[in-house]
C-alpha cells in the first residue's frame, strides 16, 4: 500500500483493459509465394471504436472530438489534404496513380514489366519484395470480385506481400503500421533444412539470407512452374468463367509464367492456384499471424506489448509446435485456400463461406475464438489439434483501489478494494492465507467443466472447489480439508489466473458492505432478473442494494432473522462476485494527544533530575524536585542535556546552536508550554521567541513572517507537532520518542485485557491494515477485538478512516 501512490493523476491512473483488436489475419508463404489465408472477423472495422468505452463515463455519451481536431489543427494547409486522404483512400489511390498501364521500374533492371492486372515478376524478386512500385491490381481498383479479397480497405493481394517479412525478421516482433492500423505478428520461418523443429536464427545475416532464400526459391520456382503447367489451363478457364467481363491481353493470362505471379497480380488467380495447381508438393516457408490493432492515442506501446507478449507470441509458438509436429498450419492453410477457391468458382457469398471455413478448419476456428475472446477482454480457449488445448488471455486487473471520477473512469463492475495490496512487493504473488476464495462462477458449472476434461489436476481441483466457501479463509480450509497450504495456494492461483476465482477477505456478517461506487449500473436490469431467479423468495436486487445504501451497518443486521443467515451470505457472495458491493473496511492510526507528550516529557525530565540528584548531587539530598516545576527555565535544558547538549547553554548561545541541533532536539525545546496551563506560558515565551525577536520580529509584516516560516519550516513543524495532537504512522517502527508516548498510553489503560493485547493491536494501527483483519490474523475472537477497539475509540486514541 505504501508503495502504491494514491494520488490520482494521469500517470498513476491505470488504463482500463482495451485490447483495441481490429482483426486477426493469417498469412503464409510457400515456395509459390505469399498467401493471404484467412482473416477474422469477415468484415473488420477500424476507427469506429471509440478510444475507450464511453459507457464508463456515464449514461449519455458525447463524442470527444477534440483530439482529432487538435492533432491536425497544427498542420495548416495540409488539413484538407489529410481529411481528404483519410476519408477516401481508394480515391486518393486512383488519383495518385494517374494513368494506368505505365511502365513500372522493376528491381535490378531485370526487365521492364507491363502490368495491368497481369504482370510477372521473377520469384527471386518477389522474395526481395523491394519493387513496391507495383500498381494496384485490378481487384482493388475495381470493387473486389469477392468480399474477402479486400480487408480494411486494402487488397489482400497487397497485404499478403506486405505481411510476409524478410527472414531477417524471424523470431522477432513483427510490427508494421499503415496509418492508424498496426499489424503485429510473430513470424515463424522454416529452418534451412526444411524442418520446423528448431527455429533458425538469422538476425544480421539478413543480406545473405535473402540471397540464399532467393536462390532456393528461384530454383524451386522452376520446378513449380513445371508442375504448374499441368494445371494452368484449367485454372485460366475457371477464372474466365468467374469474371467474364475481364479479358486478358494475349500472353498475359494470369496463369502465364510463374505461378506465384498470378496470385499477386490478380486476385482471380491467387486462390485457385494454391490448391488446384498441384501445390500439394509445395511447402510452407513462413507463416505469420497478424493481430491488427488501432490503439488509442498514447496507449500504443502498452497495447502492443500486452497483446504481443500474451497472445501473438504464444499463439505463434503453439502453431509452430503443431506445424513441426504434423505440418498442421500448412495443412490448414491449404484447406482454407481450397475452400476459398471453391467458393470463388461457385460464387459462394462470404456469409456462407466464412462459417464453412470455420467449420472445416480448426485453425480458422481458433483464430475466430481468439479474436472474439481477446477483443472482448476474455480468455480464449483454443483447441488447435485435438490433442492440444491452449488458452490465451491478456491478464487483467482484478481490482482497483480507485473510485471512478468524471475524469478518470474505471471499468464498471471491477472490484474496488485495497485488500489485495500487500505491503512488500515480493509477496504480492503469494496469496495471504487469511484471504478466502470467491468463485466467480457457480461451483456446479465449474465442476462440470473440470470433470469434462481429464487432467492431472482435475481431481484435487474438484475436491478443492467443492469445499470452497467465501466465508472461510484458506488457512482454515487447508486445516479442515487437510490439504497443505502450498497446494491450496497453487490451486487458488490457478483459479485466479484463469479468472474463475478471486481472493477476498472472508465474508462475515459482522463486516460492513457498501454498494461499490464502481458497480456497473448498466448491468442492473439483467442482474435484477438473474437475482430474482437465483433468490426467488428474497427481496429483489434493487431492494438489497438499497438496504446496503445510506447509513452503514454490519451486514448481519440486514438479515431479518437467524434463519436467513445462509441465504443472505449467499446473496453477499453473489453481490461481491458481480462487483455490486465492496467491503467497507476500517483503518486506524494512533493519536498522540499533546497532553501525553507533555506528560512523557515531564516524566523523562523528572527521572533525569532524580538520577542527577542521586548520582552527582547526592549530598544535597533535597528531594523536593518531585513537586514538578516543569515550567522552569531549567527543565527544557535538562532535557536537552540528557540528549546531547551542555547544561545551561540555552540562554546564552542558544541561537547559533539552534541551527545545528537536530530537529528531534528542537521538539523537546518546549514540551510544556501549551500543554501546561496558561500560567506557565509567560516563561515559555522566553524560551522560544529569542529567535524571532532577534532577527525576525514576528510583528513586522506578513512577508517577513512568512519568510521566517519558510526558513524554519521544519523546526516549526516539529514544534507544532509537539504542542498539538499528532498521529503515529508506523507504530512498529516508532522512534524512541514515539515509543515513550506509546508506552505511556498503554500505561494509562485501565482495562487489563487491552493492556495485554496492546502490542498485538498496535501493529495494525498504521492506516494500512484493516481492523477487521486483526481477529483473523491474531487468531482471536472478533468480539474481543471489537471490544478493545471500541475502548480505544472511546478513549479517543484513534483516528479512524473507512474505505474499501
Amino acid at each position: 500500500m505504501a508503495s502504491l501512490s494514491w494520488s490520482i493523476s494521469p500517470t498513476t491512473f491505470n488504463h482500463p483493459p482495451n485490447p483495441s483488436l481490429v482483426a486477426i489475419i493469417l498469412v503464409a508463404k510457400s515456395r509459390a509465394g505469399p498467401h493471404f489465408v484467412f482473416h477474422y472477423p469477415p468484415y473488420p472495422k477500424s476507427g469506429s471504436l471509440p478510444p475507450s468505452n464511453p459507457s464508463w463515463y456515464g449514461t449519455t455519451s458525447t463524442k470527444g472530438d477534440t483530439s482529432s481536431e487538435s492533432s491536425s489543427g497544427s498542420s495548416g494547409s495540409s488539413d484538407d489534404e489529410e481529411s481528404g486522404d483519410r476519408s477516401s483512400r481508394a480515391g486518393s489511390r486512383v488519383t495518385s496513380r494517374g494513368t494506368s498501364g505505365k511502365h513500372e521500374p522493376g528491381l535490378r533492371g531485370t526487365g521492364l514489366r507491363e502490368y495491368e492486372d497481369i504482370d510477372e515478376v521473377d520469384r527471386e524478386e518477389e522474395d526481395f519484395q523491394e519493387d513496391g512500385s507495383r500498381p494496384l491490381n485490378g481487384a482493388s481498383r475495381r470493387p473486389p470480385e469477392n468480399d474477402w479479397e479486400e480487408v480494411l480497405g486494402y487488397a489482400t493481394g497487397g497485404l499478403e506481400n506486405l505481411l510476409c517479412p524478410q527472414p531477417g525478421l524471424n523470431k522477432r516482433r513483427f510490427e508494421v503500421a499503415l496509418d492508424i492500423l498496426i499489424f503485429l505478428g510473430s513470424p515463424r520461418f522454416v529452418r534451412d533444412d526444411g524442418t520446423w523443429k528448431k527455429r533458425r536464427r538469422r538476425r544480421w545475416s539478413g543480406g545473405n539470407g535473402n540471397n540464399e532464400l532467393a536462390n532456393v526459391n528461384h530454383s524451386e520456382n522452376l520446378d513449380y512452374e513445371a508442375a504448374d503447367n499441368q494445371t494452368r489451363n484449367s485454372r485460366i478457364s475457371s477464372m474466365n468463367e468467374q469474371d467474364p467481363t475481364f479479358v486478358h491481353p494475349e500472353g498475359f493470362e494470369p496463369g502465364y509464367g510463374h505461378g506465384m505471379l498470378s496470385e499477386v497480380a490478380s486476385e482471380a488467380g491467387s486462390e485457385p492456384k494454391s490448391d488446384s495447381t498441384g501445390s500439394m508438393e509445395d511447402e510452407m516457408t513462413l507463416f505469420n499471424v497478424l493481430f491488427v490493432l488501432d490503439p488509442p492515442v498514447n496507449q500504443h506501446i502498452l497495447r502492443i506489448k500486452e497483446l504481443y507478449d500474451n497472445v501473438a507470441k504464444k499463439f505463434s509458438k503453439a502453431l509452430k509446435h503443431e506445424q513441426a509436429r504434423s505440418n498442421y498450419v500448412w495443412e490448414e492453410c491449404r484447406k482454407i485456400l481450397a475452400l476459398k477457391a471453391k467458393a470463388k468458382e461457385n460464387k459462394t457469398p462470404m456469409s456462407i463461406l466464412w462459417p464453412t471455413i470455420m467449420f472445416k478448419s480448426s485453425l480458422a476456428r481458433s483464430i475466430a475464438i481468439i479474436y472474439d475472446a481477446i477483443s472482448d477482454s476474455k480468455i480464449a480457449h483454443v483447441n488447435l489439434n485435438s490433442s492440444v488445448d491452449t488458452s490465451f488471455q491478456i491478464p487483467q486487473a482484478i481490482f482497483t483501489p480507485y473510485a471512478p471520477t468524471p475524469i478518470h473512469p474505471q471499468q464498471p463492475g471491477l472490484w474496488l478494494t485495497t485488500a489485495n495490496i500487500v505491503d512488500d512487493e515480493d509477496s504480492i504473488s503469494i496469496m495471504s492465507p487469511h484471504s478466502a476464495l470467491l468463485l466467480l462462477e457457480d461451483s456446479e458449472i465449474l465442476l462440470k467443466e473440470i470433470e469434462s476434461e481429464t487432467r492431472e489436476r482435475s481431481a484435487p481441483l474438484a475436491f478443492f472447489i467443492r469445499n470452497l466457501t467465501p466465508t472461510k479463509s484458506l488457512q482454515k480450509l487447508s486445516v479442515t480439508c487437510s490439504i497443505t497450504m502450498q497446494d491450496v495456494q497453487v490451486l487458488s492461483n490457478h483459479l485466479i489466473y484463469w479468472r474463475r476465482a478471486r481472493a477476498i477477505p472472508p465474508l462475515n456478517p459482522r463486516d460492513t458492505y457498501i454498494v461499490s461506487p464502481n458497480a456497473d449500473m448498466r448491468a442492473l436490469h439483467n442482474a435484477t432478473r438473474a437475482f430474482s431467479i437465483r433468490f426467488p423468495s428474497l427481496p429483489p436486487l434493487p431492494k438489497m442494494l438499497n438496504m446496503l445504501s445510506g447509513q452503514t451497518r454490519p451486514f448481519g443486521q440486514l438479515m431479518p432473522s437467524k434463519d436467513h443467515r445462509i441465504a443472505y451470505m449467499e446473496i453477499l457472495a453473489w453481490l461481491m462476485r458481480g462487483g455490486w458491493v465492496t467491503q467497507l473496511r476500517t483503518f486506524a492510526w494512533l493519536r498522540i494527544p499533546a497532553k501525553v507528550k507533555k506528560q512523557v516529557a515531564d516524566n523523562i525530565e523528572r527521572e533525569e533530575r532524580h538520577r542527577a540528584k542521586l548520582a552527582t548531587v547526592q549530598e544535597t539530598n533535597a528531594g523536593s524536585d518531585h513537586a514538578g516545576h516543569a515550567g522552569d527555565e531549567k527543565s527544557p535544558s535538562s532535557l536537552l542535556t540528557r540528549l546531547t547538549l551542555a547544561e545551561n547553554s540555552e540562554n546564552t548561545d542558544f541561537q547559533p546552536r539552534l541551527t545545528i541541533t537536530s530537529p528531534l532536539l528542537r521538539a523537546y525545546r518546549s514540551p510544556n508550554r501549551p500543554g501546561s496551563d496558561t500560567g506557565s506560558e509567560a516563561s515559555n515565551v522566553t524560551t522560544i521567541p529569542p529567535l524571532t525577536e532577534q532577527k525576525y520580529p514576528p510583528s513586522e509584516s506578513d512577508v517577513s513572517s512568512s519568510d521566517w516560516n519558510r526558513n524554519n519550516n521544519f523546526e516549526y513543524l516539529r514544534y507544532k507537532s509537539f504542542v498539538r495532537d499528532s498521529l503515529i504512522f508506523s507504530p512498529t517502527k516508532a522512534n524512541a520518542e514515539e515509543s515513550a508516548w506509546i508506552e505511556h498510553i498503554c500505561g494509562s489503560f485501565t482495562d487489563s485485557e487491552l493492556r495485554e493485547m496492546w502490542p498485538h493491536l498496535l501493529q495494525y494501527l498504521d492506516g494500512k491494515h484493516a481492523l477487521e483483519e486483526i481477529a483473523l490474523r491474531e487468531g482471536v475472537k472478533r468480539k474481543r477485538i471489537a471490544r478493545l477497539v471500541g475502548l480505544l475509540r472511546e478513549g479517543n486514541w484513534l483516528v479512524v478512516a473507512r474505505h474499501w
Binding site: S7, G64, H103, G132, L136, G207, A403, R724
Partner: protein, 458 residues
C-alpha cells in the same frame, strides 16, 4: 528523441536507395570518419516498407526493426517529366521503439506532403540528382548492405551529402526537433518548413451538463481564443457552477458549452467535479491515507480551505493546478496558524490545525449528508469554507461523492415531467435534477409519489 532521419528514393532501375542519412551511417554503412560504427537496423529487411507497393503509398507506413521504429510517408509523384513517369521517395524518421510516437506521426505526414508539393512545384528533390550520383551509389548496390561496414566501397558517402539541400534538411530537422521540439526552415523565397512536435493527449472524457468545471489556470489570462463560445463561457467558470448553469448564464447552447469546456479539459485547463450541495454525501477513499500521512497536503489544504480567501475563489488547489503557482497571501486565519509562536497575542482564537482537518475528513461517512455533518461539527468548522474543504478532498481523490440513483420497481407509467425514464438506476440525482431543472428536494418529493422506488447510494 529522433535517432535518425533519412531520405530514400526509389530508382527506376536500381531500386530503393538511401540518398541521405543523418547521422551518417545510421541506415547504410558509411566510411566517413564520423559515421556510426554500425547501422541502426538492416535496411534490406525493411526496404519493402520504406518504399512499399503502390496501394500503401501516400500514407503513414511504420515498421519496427531492431528496437527502432521507422516511420515514413512514402510518396509517389506521377508526372511525365520523370523517367517512367514516376518519382518515388520517402522521408523517414527513426525513433526508439518504446518512445511514445503519437506526436511524431503528424510530423512525418506533414513532411511527406510538404516535400511532395515542393517537388511538384520546383523539383526540389529531383534537381539534386544526376546520373553521377546514381552511378556512385550503384557501386554499393551489389553489396549486400548488411552490417559489414568494411565492404562499403565508397569513401565519400554521402556522395553529394553536405552540399545537398535535402541533406541539410535532414540534419536541421533532426537537430531542431530533438533540441527545441520545433523547427523553421526556409526553403526558398516562398516556402518555409514549419514543424512542431505537439504532445498528443488522449481524447478528453465527456463533459456532462451536471459536471462542475474548476479551473487549474487563470482562464481569464489565457490567450484570447477565437472560439466565441469559449470566450463567452469562460467568465462563468467559477468552480461552483455546473456546466448547465454556465451555459444558461452565458446564453450558450448546452451542447456548444459542453464542447467548449471539453476543449479546456483536453488541455488540462480545468478539472471536473460534482455539484456541491449540502444534501450531498461524501465518503473517504483509500487515498485518505495520503492526506493523513502527508503534511504538505495538509498545509495546502489549510491554506485552501481557510475562509476569507476570496481571491482564489473558484480555483483548484495549488497542487492540482500543477505548474501554476501562486503565493497565497496569508489570511487572517492563516496568520494565526503561522504566528502561533506569539501565543500571548492571539491566544483565544480556535485555530484550525491539521488534526482538525483529519478529524473532519474522517468523520464524513456514508449516509451522512454534508448538512448534518456541518451541524455535528459546527465548532470545528469555524473558519473553514465547507465547500472548499469538500472540493479539496474530491479533487485530491481522497473523498468521493456518494451519488444517489433511483430505480422504479414497477413499470413506470407515462409521466408528464419525464422523470420516469431516469428511474433505471443509471442516472444520478445530479443528472436528473440538472436535466429536469428541479432541486433535489423536489426530486425526492416526486419520487415519493412514484411509490415503489428504491434509492441506491453508490
Amino acid at each position: 528523441m529522433i535517432k535518425a532521419i533519412f531520405f530514400t528514393r526509389f530508382h527506376e532501375r536500381k531500386g530503393s536507395r538511401v540518398l541521405h542519412q543523418v547521422p551518417d551511417g545510421a541506415i547504410v554503412p558509411s566510411s566517413s570518419p564520423s559515421a556510426l560504427p554500425a547501422p541502426l537496423f538492416n535496411f534490406k529487411d525493411v526496404a519493402q516498407y520504406i518504399i512499399p507497393r503502390q496501394e500503401f503509398r501516400d500514407r503513414l507506413v511504420t515498421v519496427c526493426d531492431n528496437k527502432y521504429r521507422i516511420m515514413g510517408y512514402p510518396v509517389c509523384i506521377t508526372d511525365p517529366k520523370y523517367e517512367r513517369n514516376e518519382y518515388i521517395f520517402n522521408f523517414v524518421i527513426v525513433l526508439d521503439e518504446d518512445t511514445e510516437f503519437a506526436g511524431h506521426t503528424a510530423i512525418v505526414r506533414k513532411l511527406g506532403r510538404l516535400l511532395r508539393s515542393l517537388e511538384e512545384q520546383g523539383n526540389f528533390l529531383s534537381r539534386e540528382e544526376d546520373a553521377d550520383i546514381w552511378d556512385k551509389l550503384d557501386a554499393t548496390i551489389e553489396e549486400p548492405s548488411g552490417h559489414e561496414r568494411a565492404k562499403s566501397p565508397f569513401g565519400d558517402y554521402p556522395p553529394f551529402g553536405n552540399e545537398s539541400k535535402v541533406y541539410a534538411l535532414c540534419e536541421m530537422i533532426l537537430e531542431d526537433l530533438n533540441n527545441y521540439c520545433e523547427c523553421m526552415i526556409p526553403i526558398d523565397d516562398s516556402n518555409t518548413i514549419n514543424l512542431k512536435l505537439f504532445p498528443k493527449y488522449p481524447p478528453p472524457p465527456p463533459v456532462h451538463a451536471w459536471h462542475v468545471p474548476i479551473s487549474t489556470v487563470q482562464l481569464q489570462s489565457l490567450a484570447v481564443s477565437d472560439d466565441l463560445t469559449l470566450n463567452r463561457v469562460i467568465p462563468y467558470i467559477n468552480g461552483v457552477r455546473s456546466v448547465a448553469k454556465i451555459a444558461d448564464l452565458a446564453d450558450v447552447d448546452i451542447h456548444l458549452a459542453r464542447k467548449a469546456i471539453s476543449h479546456l479539459l483536453y488541455y488540462n485547463c480545468i478539472v471536473l467535479t460534482d455539484i456541491f450541495q449540502f444534501n450531498a454525501i461524501y465518503a473517504q477513499t483509500p487515498a485518505i491515507y495520503n492526506f493523513i500521512t502527508g503534511p504538505e497536503m495538509q498545509a495546502e489544504c489549510l491554506r485552501y480551505v481557510a475562509k476569507a480567501e476570496a481571491e482564489a475563489k473558484g480555483k483548484a488547489p495549488a497542487s492540482v493546478v500543477g505548474s501554476y503557482k501562486k503565493d497565497y497571501k496569508p489570511t487572517l486565519r492563516a496568520k494565526y496558524a503561522d504566528d502561533e509562536f506569539d501565543l500571548t497575542k492571539f491566544k483565544p482564537v480556535p485555530e484550525v490545525t491539521e488534526m482538525n482537518l483529519i478529524d473532519l475528513y474522517t468523520s464524513l461517512q456514508h449516509g451522512l449528508s454534508v448538512q448534518n455533518w456541518c451541524i455535528q461539527h459546527a465548532d470545528a468548522l469555524d473558519g473553514i469554507d465547507v465547500r472548499r474543504l469538500i472540493t479539496f478532498g474530491v479533487l485530491k481523490g481522497f473523498l468521493y461523492r456518494v451519488h444517489k440513483y433511483a430505480i422504479a420497481m414497477k413499470e413506470v407509467p407515462h409521466d408528464e415531467d419525464g422523470l420516469g425514464k431516469y428511474l433505471d438506476g443509471m442516472h444520478s440525482f445530479d443528472e436528473i435534477c440538472t436535466d429536469l431543472g428541479i432541486s433535489s428536494r423536489e426530486l425526492e418529493a416526486k419520487l415519493k409519489e412514484y411509490g415503489d422506488v428504491q434509492v441506491i447510494h453508490r
